[in-house]
């Protein structure tokens, strides 16, 4: 299975009929950078057709583990070698949600500043929820990063009657604030 490059997409539910529950995982190698490792956050934003977050409750991350209808849920203990995972019940996603944007950001805490460019490796993977079978995996997204502090890893989106997954790898030097501005995420 070839690694998906940036911009590549795959028709999940068409390729695998009957697929309803998937896990989007991210795995990274931060080397010895503990501060970097500690402050990485995976977040999933449930967006409408205009790519805007539906509400503050439609952001799934460590402090809000599910969306209101519980179709998207942060996995508290990631399995299968991933560092962070989010589980998505595609059939339960509300009709008004058009895309699920999966982002990784560095929390701008009190620690010294780090950047995603310090990551040696960063890949996003889509798995079948039952059994964690790997469906697709992205190329190493870290290779072209430098001063970014947030990154849109990819998105799971509706296309006609299918769900597709696209690798984005779009970096933001302005961190989660930049992503929040673009996706109407109310901070």
């Amino acid at each position: 299975m070839a690694a998906m490059s940036r911009g590549a997409n795959v028709a999940l539910t068409r390729e695998i009929p009957g697929l309803t529950r998937i896990v989007v995982g991210v795995s990274w190698n931060a080397g010895a950078e503990r501060v970097l490792q500690d402050n990485l956050v995976l977040a999933t934003v449930l967006c409408d057709a205009d790519s805007k977050a539906l509400s503050p409750e439609h952001v799934v991350f460590f402090n809000q583990l599910t969306s209101p209808e519980e179709s998207v849920a942060q996995v508290e203990t990631a399995l299968a070698g991933d560092d962070e995972q989010v589980e998505i019940d595609l059939s339960g996603v509300p009709a008004e949600v058009n895309r699920l944007v999966v982002v990784l950001y560095l929390n701008d805490g009190t620690a010294q500043r780090r950047t995603l460019g310090q990551l040696r490796e960063l890949t996003v993977v889509v798995r079948e929820a039952a059994g964690s079978r790997e469906l697709v995996r992205s190329e190493n997204l870290a290779s072209v990063l430098s001063g970014e502090t947030a990154l849109v890893l990819g998105e799971v989106y509706r296309h006609q009657r299918d769900w597709k997954f696209r690798v984005l790898g779009a970096g933001y030097t302005s961190g989660i604030a930049g992503i929040a501005a673009d996706y109407g995420l109310p901070l």
């Binding site: 409750e57 952001v59 402090n63 809000q64 701008d108 009190t110 620690a111 989660i176 109310p186 901070l187």
Partner: protein, 367 residues
């Protein structure tokens, strides 16, 4: 009725949340005004304005949160009528209501009074319905104009016990009290009247939360500190003036950090928001002399929204407890305290229940 304490009760300005509660009939006295009412159903509001209580979920005997009470009680009521009503949403309830019609119609008029009394401790939504019961003839027509009991009630008014119990449960969705929120980029000033604001989980979990004491030098040598309780059960003090700049002390990865910039500030690392249980921010004069307090405590979210607490507590020598923060289900509830405390920070800790701290002296915790 909001903000109007009963004449008999002493006002409790210290319990801000009480202010948003409605006046409840005393369980003993409540049944009494009940019988006279059927005579005049359209104007059933005596001194209590209980006719309006239809829309106000104020259970007489409960003290827990109103939104929950409502659902709880309707389920409790279902016990008397073994129906699928408890979990069922509105439509299915309507379906079941015609069944009640055929059910106990004969027993209705005599049974009216006792069930009404028995039902007293239930939600106030029921308050309107006893009207139907006791005055079966007159009730239906005025009832029909009532928005809450529109369809089913007029038909069911003759049969007493089960129907009115269910009707409100079906008609009214569970009422959720809305809490004051902080709009993105917005600004909230906490006062004695409106002392709390609740941040969303995003505001409580992304970036940092900055707490600054904005006090001009004219007021005096004002410093800031905070007592904290962490999820692991430990408590302590973070206060640069005492040489404790982080919480926990000497931490490689502090949850709260003190710093001095233009104003002295505390910064909460929200990546670790789930490690924080509660926080109490206080300000004090470093030299310990009496100050004529002024200025503002400002809390800034990562998105730039602000919560402000005025520090105008007048002349006071000891510390001032300014703001408490409680992490409730991932959401930060901020509450203005603005309470002058006599003594030192140890007395602040005692006043707010931070009892898992030991002290070398009034100002120095043993951490």
């Amino acid at each position: 009725m909001i903000g109007q304490p009963p004449a008999s009760a002493p006002p409790r300005p210290d319990l801000g949340w009480l202010r948003h509660r409605t006046l409840r009939p005393v369980p003993g006295t409540a049944p009494a005004p009940e019988p006279p009412r059927p005579a005049a159903p359209p104007a059933p509001s005596p001194a209590r304005s209980s006719g309006l209580d239809l829309s106000e979920p104020s259970p007489p005997a409960r003290s827990s949160s109103a939104g929950l009470d409502l659902s709880e009680q309707s389920s409790g009521l279902d016990l008397s009528t073994p129906a699928p009503a408890r979990r069922a949403p509105a439509p299915s309830l309507d379906l079941s209501s015609p069944l009640d019609l055929s059910g106990p119609p004969a027993a209705a008029p005599p049974a009216a009074a006792p069930p009404a009394a028995a039902r007293r401790p239930s939600s106030s939504l029921d308050l309107g319905d006893p009207l139907d019961l006791t005055g079966p003839a007159a009730a239906p027509s005025p009832r029909a104009s009532d928005p809450l009991s529109l369809g089913p009630t007029p038909v069911r008014s003759p049969d007493a016990p089960p129907a009115p119990v269910r009707a409100p449960a079906a008609a009214a969705p569970p009422v959720r009290r809305t809490v004051p929120r902080l709009a993105p980029g917005g600004r909230v000033i906490l006062t004695r009247r409106d002392p709390t604001v609740t941040l969303t989980r995003v505001q409580s979990g992304v970036g940092t939360l900055t707490i600054e004491a904005i006090v001009s030098a004219a007021v005096g040598d004002v410093r800031i500190g905070a007592l904290y309780a962490l999820a692991d059960g430990t408590s302590g003090l973070v206060q640069l003036a005492t040489g404790i700049g982080t919480a926990p002390p000497h931490s490689r990865r502090p949850v709260v950090t003190g710093a001095r910039a233009a104003h002295e500030r505390l910064t909460v690392d929200l990546r670790q928001t789930r490690a924080l249980r509660r926080l109490l921010v206080h300000v004090f004069s470093e030299s310990g002399r009496e100050l004529d307090w002024g200025g503002t405590l400002r809390v800034t979210t990562f998105g730039g929204a602000r919560v402000e607490v005025p520090l105008d507590v007048g002349q006071h020598a000891g510390p001032v407890a300014v703001l408490s923060l409680y992490a409730i289900d991932g959401e930060f509830v901020l509450r203005a305290e603005a309470e002058p405390i006599t003594g030192a920070v140890r007395e602040v800790a005692a006043a707010y229940g931070y009892d898992r701290i030991t002290w070398a002296d009034g100002a120095t915790p043993v951490l």
